[in-house]
């Protein structure tokens, strides 16, 4: 079997990254990867490892070599303070409260409820 395990030139095994979508409309999430010698077998193996239990509605199979990778700290994690680029770095609450007091209006209820960023999942009990 030793010869069968040694792939012929041009048929080397290489990694393919597999992304899964659980149901239509869901985001594609990285599932893992498979080793395969070509796109057809990569597709078969992705199907077997990430789809045979009906856990996937759709798969994306991408050759790892075709992925552009960016992991440059100069670009992604610059040394100087960049907190002013984050929304949290610009606090509006005090200014809004002052403006409302001046105009004599109240904070709109619907918007204040949606402001916790949980999409309404946080219950009243959690907030207490």
């Amino acid at each position: 079997m030793a010869s069968a395990r040694k792939p012929a030139a041009g048929h080397r095994l290489e990694p393919w990254e597999v992304f899964q979508q659980a149901k239509e409309g869901d985001p594609m999430r990285h599932g893992g990867n498979v080793l395969a010698p070509d796109a057809d077998l990569a597709t078969h193996y992705a199907r077997e490892l990430y789809g045979r239990r009906q856990e996937s509605h759709r798969l994306w199979i991408v050759r790892r070599a075709d992925i552009r990778v960016l992991e440059d700290a100069d670009l992604l994690d610059p040394p100087l303070d960049r907190s002013f680029k984050k929304p949290g770095g610009y606090v509006m609450r005090g200014k809004l409260e002052a403006a409302r007091a001046k105009a004599g209006t109240e904070k709109p209820r619907a918007r204040s409820e949606g402001h916790d960023r949980t999409g309404g999942r946080r219950s009243a009990g959690d907030q207490a």
Partner: protein, 261 residues
Amino acid sequence: MTGAVLALDPRLRTALAELVLTMADDEFVSGFTDSEWTGIAPILEEDVAMSSISQDELGHAKALFELLATVLDDGRDADALAYDRQPDEYRHARLLDHARGDWADTIARRFLYEIADEARLASIGTGYPPLANLVEKLRREERYHRMHATVWIDRLANGGAEPRRRLEAALAALSVDAATVFTPLAGEADLLEAGVVTRSLAAAEAAWRGDLTSILVPLGLRVPPAAAEPPVDGRSNHSEAFRWLWGEFTTVRRLDPTAVW
């Protein structure tokens, strides 16, 4: 379902049971033979793929044996039909009598069988609705098996001298038994008349040859030659390799046939 079974006249029931038994045994034996690769396939991914395909085939066999149990209605359940027979009583095609062999042997056998199975499944009509409904589901899963076998035929044919030599040797060794999936059934005329099948096994074999030709000839591979006459004993007279496999797959069952799982 019982109503439909009771409505069958005895001759048609016998013919239907024969057809379903051959289909079930084909899937059962090929599933067990291919499961011999679990743990030793060429790469891990292929190990998972081949094991999963083998499980699919055993799942198809289970569904067919369950259907057969309702047709026969003789008190035997799917397990009894699958395991409680002597080797000579199995009716799988002799193509599936060939042992696992090397990877090329397995791919060549699977390829010849999968294309034949598709030709047979495409011949099932609506004459017996429970079978027609089951076949519709089987065909959706078999499509993937066919793709897998065909991709591998292509890879071995184009994978360099050694893989190609092994594939050609495997196809040549299987060639005499290649068409045994289409061994005539005693009750074929009754099945045709009742619309359980829509074409003869000979017509299905012609379709199979067409499919083989369209895949093998562009790869420069030889299509197994047609026999002058259809094989009379293409589903009997099983090999030593099958007798060994039978001993393996009935081991646990024979320890205690009445065990409850």
